[in-house]
Symmetry: C2
Subunit: 385 residues, 2 copies
């Protein structure tokens, strides 16, 4: 096991009728921004419940946060926060809204010239407004971590940041509110959580058996419960199990003491930036390609993954590892998620552009052991044409 | 899955050379009490390292905390804290020292007449001094939770409390410092952690597959790594895996959304109070007896446990559940831990005294579903004579 530091102060309220529990965690008299996305919180009852619980506070609603939250929209929210002296951001919805809340919270107190530097120049965040979330969509894990990914429409960039100041103070996890989700979003959530685990698990052995089994616990639960929630988002038990799995997939525990990869995400972000493909779908495209491109380097963990998740015990080592990749692709496809670039009208030109971007960034150390070179990126994507 | 709230703000530093990382987390100028037990920190180098790191602070050393930390010793420490205006407690050692630090931290700021009421009368803690830990012995999980168990020598009582104010601010987990532990203490740690998991796992099914698998992840790792650490405490990898397993066994995650039992601990505490038997050994005695006494009620989870931890797949349901109990006893005995009352010179008179104590407390709601009545306590202990 490698040395590690772990810290996660997010308070989680999980289940039914949880929103009323938030009151002790917001200072009386604070002006609150209720941040949301496309308006689903008006349909699933969450907005009305929040409004009722916060009736003694001044609440400013700010909607329209996009599925890939944009810098441009976030900066509009920062303007409102400064104009109205808002002191607390409550994000209601899925991971995009929560990610936006984190960036807005940091940008509102940023002292430099341009908050974009937090993302592009990795300027450390030294303060942020308090924020919290009411989660209605299991997927990103943003509700219980300090990370956010923000896109800039004007340049087609999609970049991440993290700060100890952007942990949500609390997150209310509401499986019931996910009952009315479109199946497409449930499928995206299952795959997003699944690949979050793989990025922390499928690297190389470091004698960390507990972390491996914790990762496998999430994967197995997603394999079992994900399809049930996809088939019927109103199946409370399945949605609850999916939601808690997605949170546990990226709250920092699985990465304790083990190497990470994260190059599937880095490559996937470029596919979203260039083609607008849903984040989870980019992961479903890139993950099998990357495994095939790094087959020898990933083989040992692929065999373990195949055995423990898919019960693959027959054949040579190569056959077992290959079967593990195929079963993963079958799983994604069973949720209606296609895994080829051609399924999304992307082709060789897109690969050229993405590889050029990685080359221009001198991103030599991407992936576990720095394995994901621009050449590997090309190979991984060409295998998924 | 049941509704739940989860909150755990403990910052963990895990691995080698971690002690120097604590400085940013103690306010400059604070007077610190370094709390320890029998003096092992003088032999394993931890005391010298702490003293070096804290050279700019005024540090008062307070040793002699017992394996079952006593109210009497804790109150002496409270006297020193008040006399010397100490503002931070750093516990170095195992769970007993950390438990003592929690009670001392709360008692030092207690406003009522007698801090014993925190334990005996369940008076809520409303403030506590900040505390932290340097862990040298994997076992109790106290390093990453808010719980403490304190004994009163004068009355032979052993009682627990928990407060949001008694989470350690940070805990440094040092597998290397456990290299010089006696084998007996390593065995105790493995069994303590194992039963912590069982108390949260082996109840009845509530459709919480992720929590079940997370619990099983810890159990499987303890079964694999515990014997290696027991055989050779200087095996760093095995001790590291054991230490992280023991922490994860009781940091609150495994109990999210599932029922708990905890009657093995409640009964075990009485065995320690009456006979001075090591805490872990009391658990090893009581656990199999309680399973046999509640065989029908626990059967469904016993079968799952037997299959997933001990690979028991043959026989009738009764045979499978029975085999799961036997394999557990064999595991404890393989670590040199005996599981019969007679192994510890305890007999029917002890059972009478323990049952009388539970009857006098009207503890009708002990155990999952309130199953552990005084009659069940008698049966469980008689089966282990």
């Amino acid at each position: 096991m490698q040395d590690f530091e772990f810290y996660n102060p997010v308070r989680v309220f999980f289940g039914k009728d949880q929103i009323s529990k938030i009151i002790p965690y917001i200072e009386p008299g604070t002006r609150i921004m209720l941040l949301y996305g496309g308006g689903s919180i008006f349909k699933n009852g969450v907005r009305d419940k929040i409004t009722e619980v916060l009736k003694d506070f001044t609440v400013t609603e700010f909607g329209g946060v996009e599925p890939n939250p944009s810098y441009e929209t976030c900066m509009k929210a920062v303007g409102v926060i400064k104009a109205e002296n808002i002191g607390f951001i409550l994000a209601a919805g899925g991971g995009s809204v929560i990610d936006a809340a984190k960036f807005i919270a940091a940008a509102a107190l940023y002292r430099g010239a341009d908050p974009w530097d937090i993302l592009a120049e990795k300027v450390p965040v030294t303060a942020a407004l308090p924020l919290a979330s009411v989660l209605t969509l299991p997927a990103t894990g943003s509700e219980m971590n300090k990370n956010a990914v923000i896109s800039r429409k004007s340049t087609g960039e999609k970049l991440a940041f993290a700060s100890q100041y952007t942990f949500p103070r609390f997150s209310v996890l509401l499986p019931e509110a996910a009952a009315t989700l479109p199946q497409r979003q449930v499928a995206n959530g299952v795959v997003d959580a699944f690949v979050h685990v793989l990025e922390q698990y499928l690297t190389y052995p470091v004698n960390a058996p507990l972390q491996d089994r914790q990762a496998e616990a999430v994967l197995l639960t997603l394999v079992e419960e994900g399809p049930k929630a996809y088939a019927n988002p109103a199946d409370y038990d399945a949605m609850a199990n999916l939601m808690w799995s997605a949170t546990m997939a990226l709250n920092g525990l699985l990465s304790c003491g083990v190497p990470g990869d994260w190059s599937v995400h880095s490559i996937g972000h470029e596919l979203t930036a260039f083609h607008g493909i849903d984040h989870a779908r980019t992961l479903a495209i890139v993950q099998p390609g990357l495994w095939k491109a790094l087959f020898e380097e990933k083989k040992e963990k692929l065999i373990q993954y195949g055995k423990r998740i898919w019960n693959i015990t027959e054949g040579s080592d190569d056959e077992k590892a290959d079967a593990a990749i195929r079963r993963t692709v079958d799983f994604f496809e069973s949720l209606g998620i296609r895994t080829r670039l051609s399924d999304y009208n992307a082709g060789p030109e897109t690969i050229d552009k993405i590889v050029a971007r990685f080359e221009s960034r001198n991103w030599l150390e991407m992936g576990d052991r720095g394995l994901t070179t621009p050449g590997v990126v090309r190979k991984a994507l060409e295998l998924q044409l």
